[in-house]
């Protein structure tokens, strides 16, 4: 018997004419691992929220949902609370209490469990999720990844039959995200819990999912095994194809033969079969960058910084030069000090040693206000922290008086039709664009970006990259710190590695990622045994075509 049966579900929000769900029908079997994908705003969250009565949004709707064969409204809330677990996007706001142990017990407390049951369940969960070490800690000191794991654990403590996850890793860095998704997979395979998940990072889950469902403007447009979905999207020329894992994109990009690979391992095997003899062209031409940069837009020399007197140094001699009119990226592990470097450039943190020069002028020689008035500006990690007004248009007017300029920037960031919305009502990608527009209105010559692609879907990443390229062509220098190696490999001119409080190496993405074997892109891991410096799916396709003459 299936777990959920959704029949002809339609729904529209009270304020909108558009149907958020349009006659969606879906069956979800017991123990299945189902991925729900689609662009932001395609109705994924709305659909998921319908699977739990207390979360169902208000609005006009029709259609039926059955849980274990019973209409969902008939299942009482207590049973739903225990049997249907729901993990949301924001790791922080989901947490209710102030201590880890209390959060783990929260659901059980609500259900009125007795001490003995609670004790054993909490202990069990803490062990399964590796939480023992931070069991007594304050929630406030946890990292984002730990918080989300705690959310998952506290729901699993109620022993649900179904686990629903709504973009659970969008706020996490890639390593924490992949840990989290592995845990979800473990729950599915070891406990047989049905998993329904929406996710932008398909690379990590697509190969393991039993079924993928694609949504577009409230409709379910595809429902098949992941392997077939790749094919279908490619044939339909659907924009969701850009979200597919690298091996899939390479396979269809090259018009390859055989079975479509889903993982890096399968991708390597497939490339081996394609190139039984060594290919002639193994490299794509790329620029060589020298060490000397003439008139760098930004130069950092030997920066040392720590937050408090008796804490360890975060920056330990950071030196970096950024050429003007380029897109430079700094990659590196979590908490390595990447964001702190940007903060030091902006003057939020004051390094106790070292020099920062902006266009050759030491940063402390800038008079107050001069630095941020058309010189330097930073887009923060959380775009929400920039918003102070009730309307997008007011946000923009706060920064500049010139109406034409506002319109120009709004046009470029593609937010002209959002002007009268409340910034908090926008989706993550839209918020990011509004924030970018707001920052751009300070007319910066140097734009600093802190984790700009966090929470963006693959479709919007491309739009975002186009905007960045436009800025670059206008002569603006872009410096971003990011975990997103795929994005940096594709769009940055220079990539620097940040490690141990220092910038260790700087090179072109091809050279940088081509030389790494772990810290690199999926495309490179998949093709490094055949090609020397292919770091994006496009690179692999290009080299493949060059060797095979474009056609088979």
């Amino acid at each position: 018997m299936e777990h959920f049966r959704i029949e002809n579900l339609s729904f529209s929000y009270p304020t909108s004419e558009k149907k958020s769900l349009d006659k969606a029908s879906l069956k979800i079997g017991k123990g299945e691992y189902l991925v729900l994908c689609g662009k932001s705003g395609s109705g994924k969250t709305t659909l998921l929220r319908h699977l739990k009565t207390v979360l169902t949004p208000h609005g006009k709707g029709s259609g039926e949902i059955y849980f274990n064969g019973i209409a969902l409204q008939e299942v009482d809330n207590r049973e739903q609370a225990a049997k249907i677990g729901y993990v949301m996007q924001n790791p922080d706001d989901q947490i209710v209490t102030d201590k880890v142990w209390h959060e783990l017990a929260f659901g059980l407390e609500s259900l009125g469990c007795d001490q003995k049951t609670m004790r054993s369940r909490v202990a069990e969960m803490a062990c399964y999720f590796g939480i023992q070490d931070w069991f007594h800690r304050d929630v406030a000191v946890l990292s984002g990844g730990q918080k989300q794991l705690l959310n998952l654990a506290s729901i699993m403590a109620m022993q649900p039959e179904v686990l629903i996850l709504d973009e659970p890793t969008s706020q996490l860095d890639p390593i924490a995200a992949s840990d989290f998704l592995n845990t979800v997979r473990k729950i599915n395979t070891e406990l047989g819990t049905t998993v329904i998940i929406t996710e932008h990072r398909l690379e990590d889950i697509f190969p393991y999912a039993d079924r993928a469902v694609v949504m577009d403007s409230g409709k379910i447009i595809a429902d098949d095994t992941p392997r077939n979905i790749g094919k279908l999207l490619f044939e339909q020329n659907n924009h969701m194809f850009t979200a597919m894992p690298t091996p899939v994109r390479v396979f269809y990009g090259t018009n390859g033969s055989g079975d479509c690979p889903l993982t890096v391992r399968e991708g390597r095997a497939w490339l081996n079969k394609e190139f039984e003899t060594e290919p002639e062209i193994k490299e794509i031409p790329c620029k060589i960058i020298g060490d000397d940069i003439e008139n760098p837009a930004l130069s950092l020399k030997e920066l040392w910084f720590r937050y408090e007197k008796d804490t360890p140094d975060i920056l330990r001699g950071v030196s970096l030069e950024v050429p003007s009119g380029s897109i430079s990226a700094i990659v590196g592990g979590n908490g390595a000090g990447k964001s702190t470097t940007l903060k030091a450039v902006c003057g939020i943190c004051k390094p106790y040693r070292g020099k920062i020069k902006i266009f050759g002028k030491p940063v402390n020689k800038f008079r107050s206000g001069e630095l941020f008035g058309n010189c330097i500006s930073m887009l923060p990690q959380d775009p929400k922290s920039l918003f102070v007004k009730n309307k997008v248009i007011d946000e923009l007017s706060e920064m500049a008086k010139d109406k034409n300029r506002i319109n120009e920037i709004a046009e470029m960031c593609q937010i002209t039709d959002l002007m009268n919305n409340h910034p908090y009502d926008l989706s993550g990608g839209e918020q990011q664009r509004v924030a970018l527009a707001k920052v751009l209105l300070t007319e910066p010559k140097i734009l600093l970006l802190d984790e700009p692609t966090k929470g963006m879907d693959s479709f919007f990443k491309e739009t975002f990259a186009t905007i960045l390229n436009k800025l670059k062509n206008q002569g603006i220098t872009v410096l971003m710190v990011s975990h997103d190696v795929e994005f940096c490999a594709k769009y940055a001119d220079r990539v620097s590695m940040f490690f141990d409080g220092q910038v260790l190496t700087t090179d072109t993405p091809q050279k940088f990622f081509g030389g790494n074997s772990f810290y690199t892109t999926a495309a490179n891991r998949m093709s490094r045994h055949i090609f020397k410096n292919a770091v994006t799916a496009e690179n692999v396709v290009e080299l493949y075509r060059k060797n095979k003459g474009g056609a088979r």
């Binding site: 809330n77 609500s110 406030a140 902006c346 941020f372 923060p380």
Partner: protein, 296 residues
């Protein structure tokens, strides 16, 4: 975080101790008993806070002197007049009573300082979780909210200054006020926004579907029971002696202090013993540890 030996006990035992210590600290105005209270609370506070705590303890001295000297100005009763000023008498009895008031005040400060270190918010709510589940949950949520709001405020201020909207030394007061208001406004809407998610998360985990129970991470162990018994016994002794007038002290209008002698010394020993429980526990633990360490 390292906890001291007494803090590791069940919160109920901690609470019982502080109720006893603070209640008798206020009720007993006998100078000898006050001195014992001040010393015991000072010793324990020093153990909890270390060198930082020493600074706070020393800070109570000026406070002590001030209250002592100030009391006769407000209170003019008393038989022995030391001197008069503006036709008001400054009496010896009032001065002595000032010492008593000051000592009580210092003792309270120190005990409450210890209380804050030992019975942290989570322990307190854990204690009352079963009596008033909703109220204790509310408290827990407030405890969580305050640090997260502070952190967000810091973030917003940083972000504002990185786009040139921050305040500098040169900003006018009007700008500073305006900027502060903006931050508060953002925080409010942020908190409201977050609270929607939080309430979803609560309801999704069955909040309100059944009578709430409360998870106790702390269990009453044998040591907890024994110590509770000891404490109750000591409190009993203290109450008996206090009721018999063995701890009486009057200051106004005339001094009348019952001396500590053979007939009531047991009451004093019980009181001192009670107050020294945490300190003795810590010393005992330290000794035990160093013995077991020397065996390694």
């Amino acid at each position: 975080m390292k906890q001291d030996a007494f803090s590791k006990l069940h919160p109920a035992v901690n609470l019982l101790f502080f109720i006893g210590a603070i209640a008798f600290g206020v009720l007993l105005q006998h100078p000898v008993y006050l001195l014992a209270g001040v010393l015991a609370s000072g010793a324990y506070y020093f153990m909890l806070c270390g060198r930082k705590g020493m600074k706070n303890i020393l800070l109570t001295i000026p406070l002590f002197v001030f209250i002592t000297l100030f009391n006769p100005i407000v209170n003019t009763r008393g038989a022995t007049v030391l001197f008069t000023y503006f036709d008001r008498p400054y009496t010896l009895e009032a001065l002595i009573y000032g010492v008593v008031v000051a000592a009580t005040f210092v003792l309270m400060l120190l005990w409450f300082g210890c209380y804050g270190k030992v019975l942290t918010g989570d322990k307190f709510t854990c204690l009352f979780g079963n009596l008033a589940p909703s109220l204790s949950l509310l408290l827990v949520m407030v405890f969580r909210m305050i640090p997260s709001l502070l952190q967000k405020a810091k973030q917003i201020i940083g972000v504002r200054s990185s786009i040139g909207k921050g305040i500098t030394e040169k900003s006018s007061i009007k700008d500073k006020l305006g900027s502060g208001m903006t931050v508060i406004g953002v925080l409010t809407s942020w908190a409201l926004e977050g609270s929607i998610t939080t309430s979803d998360s609560m309801r999704s985990r069955g909040y309100g579907t059944a009578k709430r129970t409360s998870f106790m991470v702390y269990r009453m162990t044998k040591a907890d029971w024994i110590l509770t018994a000891v404490m109750l016994a000591l409190l009993g002794v203290i109450i008996i002696f206090a009721a018999n007038g063995g701890m009486n002290a009057e200051f106004l209008p005339e001094r009348n202090i019952v001396p500590v002698n053979r007939s009531n010394i047991i009451g004093f020993i019980a009181y001192l013993g009670y107050l020294m429980i945490p300190t003795v526990m810590n010393i005992k633990e330290a000794i035990q540890w160093s013995i077991s360490e020397s065996k390694i």
